[in-house]
Subunit: 349 residues, 4 copies
């Protein structure tokens, strides 16, 4: 009963097989292999346009380097207050950019509020050498609160971005989960909706370590080979990241893995409706659930071997005195048995 | 006949097996797993003292973060002019430190010259707000020229470092190869000789991606959890790096792999003595060889499928008009057949 | 009728005389002159303890370098949302620190709210490699809203700072105005209340360009000679800054200048009580006033030659449809005639 | 007998008068005054084309921000090994650029050697994510060795810069001295010869603190308002810098001041020819002289009140056992009496 996080999971067998196959061979280092290049092309096919793609070690690195590419002096990034960039990267964006600022904006359900965003941008317009200047908007899909932007919401945010000359970045640490949920194509959820740069995460969805930065206008990624190497993010044996992505993107494996994870979350959601000692704290989609659990039940779950994180950001939801807010994350490796055991421990209404 | 680099090689079977085994399980992310902790302890055993160890994605990251840990305002790092930090990291040290300076020092055979080092330090002593201040000495073991410092040379450099209050860093991208060649213990080649911080590379020697930063005084690595995370260098599925190191350090695998690589290089060295169309350009130890090859023979080698890099840094050796300087690197995966084919193509005297 | 800002004013005659006197002589550059050293000692007398003092070019530089001295990886600075560091320095703190974060906290009247501050610090405690760590608290005295912290409030904030191991910084761009208003000694308003680092501004109060960074524990300023020089903030002819401070601090000139400015503001405040077309928007002390002025009257003032800035940060005060919020700043150079003309233009109730 | 440095001098009376005049008035802060704008235009007249000009606090700041404007990831600046950027700014260029590298090049007499420069650039061409990329060439006019580039040499260097897509920066801390010596116009010595960015120093030549960064293509300075403010280099009372430049550039004062300084240096040079106990160590032009002085005579000079710096960079000149190498700098304030006393103390041949 491992629901702590999708990054607590192992790796999918096809991913491991790809690594093993690559281990037996040899080839150019630093991204120069045929496989690296083939996978880069594969990204263009997946996204239905020519993209520039750069493998990096972590999602934080992808986010940070995306912002380095968008950097402006006195630059300000508009993002939700719960964004991973703010809450979970130890100031990495600020460090890697040499001082860009993350402006924390409110928004219900973990999503940027459109009017709040507009007002924040207006408050910094026109750019001034005193207060600085906007440099990017960043959204997380799916969000840290387990919710997701609709394609229409992305388009609205993108149109604000364009109107203000700001690139729109999407932190897609759980991009596949959001995509599967929305039943959209990768193109629809990104550049067709106005996204300029994507942190494309695969680690959480069954890889060992495979993260990529995708520029939908390759010209905007022109400096990235230098930026990535300078940040210590160019793997010498890049082929092993390429091999993971090759397997991940082949025959829709990535979507299957996400579909499985989302399905397990759905099974959990469905069970919670009838659970005696727990309730969904707020509606989510994808593979994350936030639940308010009776304190006694939470203890029971732990005793039964369930693993999960308690959570302190409630997005405004009231948690009762006798409840604990917990986060539950399903992954490609979650089993129906785990879900059912978890639910059984909670009891039925 | 792949002699381009040890980072062109694949990965050793035991390493892949360890990844596969880890893939089937799950556990805490971000270095919190039992395996991560066990491997960290294993490093202390290997080095015969309590060390602080931090896994990172690349050797460049290890070097850069080592220098971040040693950082001082107006700080100057003393290193050999051919150091990887200077020649091969796109200014990563300068970037990650926010502006430390690498002072390029001469030295025959790719090694720092002791007198040159002393003079450079003396020229910046006492520290001054005008010219800055020394912050570290960095040496590469084995060096970029395929040579190695003797334990005594390391001790001499360390004593200069101590006398001047400078930490001594060792870039050990090919540490195992140097260790096996010197027939020394890890402790003898590092802290017993006065090394303070080690970039411990395993990727080139049979891993997929496994690099570690080792502080022989754990207190000096106190900020490193923050520094590593901030730089986007903390893997979420850190367990997979731990698993690689676990296999790598188990039963002396790492030394066996390096011994094999060095042995293949020795076989090549021995063959070159009698080769008609090539000669060792300068003496090296470990798994790298620099050879002056008749231009015609170089073409012949390529035609026969040999892969290698031409080299432009000669460390003062004269290369004749009709010769090309090339670098040959043996790895854990190099076979005797590859070496023999290579030599056969060169012809006998 | 110049009320735009105290940095629109010229310079006090005694300051200019000091520059002229220094111009006729010569002496060591870069702060090495007897005068530089004498003035540094003078600061220790003024503050009744040994301090380390560093002249810099601007208040932004003083604030930025204070934060560089307090820097920690993943470091977070707690300050009011309207702090000059946030609103008026183009990201200078973030840039000079290489990525520290300014956490914008609410607080009525431009002052940090104690409970908000406590909650923010608690939310980041214990330090974590994920969310980062607190590195400093910064308050502005007098604040950007023209208000001031009482000595007791400073002590409360300082005790929070101490309890959390955070240095307390005071941005004293208008320190003299606050001091005169509080009728406190420099020591009482700073280190006796728990302030660790002070940006001591003199430019706004009658100097040409004289700003200093004061460390009440000189050991904390140990690296500052390097940090200042590295940032391009060490004047070669530092003697001219020293000369300004020498005159400024001699015979209480600085307090007289501030007393005059505050007095002119008081005259304006008193007049506004009876003004027909304007009212104080919120109570301030020191030399700044925020007034809600009937739109017609604002136009009349401009036509009459009054110079002032319209203001958009209302700290919650309601400004009526037919009013404009303006800021009025008195300086050492403001005359009673200017004030009276200004009030006359507003008409009497 | 003050020959320590031109930045030990005071300030010219006209400069002080301009400050005093400005002190009596008031006007927009942060460079918005009519005077600021008029002086900016005056620079365009002086240089015979439209330029973008930015006042900053120090020459180090001008140099650093010039390089920030030219910044590229993995960027390498080609400059002479004795450049002030390297020897006298505590790593400011590296810090302000977030990690650009200064490549120390040799060259006789303190000037870049053309062939050495070409080879260094060739060695980094084409740009590579491994070794980085060139970002600028910087020369100092007059050099740190008291010598100067001829217009033709500047043109040669500029043509290399253009051929390699690199901006050419000139550190003109003693620009006026070099200009007067060359009997050239400001345009001829800069953009007409191919210089792109100039650090225009006035402090050493009679100002209190007046340094400017000049972009000969204003578009290249587009970001500079942000870059300058962000670095804490925008004076609030910028009018006082403008006032200094206004007086400095009026009626050729700046050239007169430099002519005087150079004339005093010439008087010293002439006297050294016949001096018993000293000789010019190498030929210089402008206002700096390097002399080899008999040790006894050096003591005699000090006893007589002469102030000067001993020097350790000999540019290859042999200094005898019984000699000391010293630097002598004349300024606008140096008197013939000082020179003659100095020479008298040395005795005649």
């Amino acid at each position: 009963m491992q629901f702590a996080s999708d990054n607590w999971a192992g790796a999918a067998p096809a991913i491991v097989d790809a690594i093993a196959a690559e281990a037996a061979g040899s080839g150019p280092a630093y991204g120069g292999s045929d496989l690296d290049k083939a996978v880069e092309k594969r990204f263009s096919e997946i996204f239905e346009r020519e993209v520039a793609v750069f493998f990096v070690a972590t999602g934080s690195a992808a986010n940070g380097l995306a912002m380095v590419a968008a950097n402006r002096p006195g630059g300000i990034i508009f993002c939700h207050r719960d964004a991973h960039m703010i809450e979970g990267e130890c100031g990495g964006v600020e460090y890697l950019t040499g001082g860009a600022r993350l402006l924390r904006l409110d928004g219900a359900d973990g999503r940027l509020d459109i009017e709040t965003l507009k007002a924040a941008i207006a408050g910094l317009t026109p750019a001034s050498e005193h207060h600085g200047q906007g440099m990017a908007i960043s959204i997380t899909q799916q969000t840290e609160a387990g919710t997701a932007y609709s394609l229409d919401e992305i388009r609205q945010i993108a149109s604000i971005a364009k109107a203000n000359g700001l690139p729109l970045h999407m932190d897609g640490a759980r991009f596949a989960n959001a995509l599967v949920h929305a039943n959209a194509t990768p193109a629809e959820m990104t550049w067709k909706a106005g996204v300029d740069i994507l942190s494309f995460g695969a680690t959480k969805n069954g890889c060992v370590a495979a993260e990529a930065l995708v520029f939908f206008d390759p010209a905007k990624g022109r400096d990235m080979p230098f930026l990535r190497k300078r940040a210590g993010q160019l793997f010498s044996k890049s082929r092993f990241v390429a091999a993971q992505f090759d397997a991940y993107l082949r025959d829709g494996l990535w979507l299957d893995l996400a579909r499985h994870a989302n399905g397990m979350a759905d099974r959990l959601r469905a069970g919670l409706v009838d659970a005696a000692d727990a309730r969904e704290a707020w509606p989510t989609s994808g593979n994350e659930i936030f639940a308010a659990v009776k304190r006694g039940a939470a203890e029971r779950l732990k005793a039964a071997g369930a693993v999960f994180h308690e959570w302190d950001r409630t997005i405004g939801v009231t948690v009762a005195e006798d409840e604990t807010l917990i986060r539950l994350v399903a992954s490609f490796a979650t089993t129906a048995e785990e879900v059912d055991s978890f639910l059984a421990t909670l009891g039925a209404k």
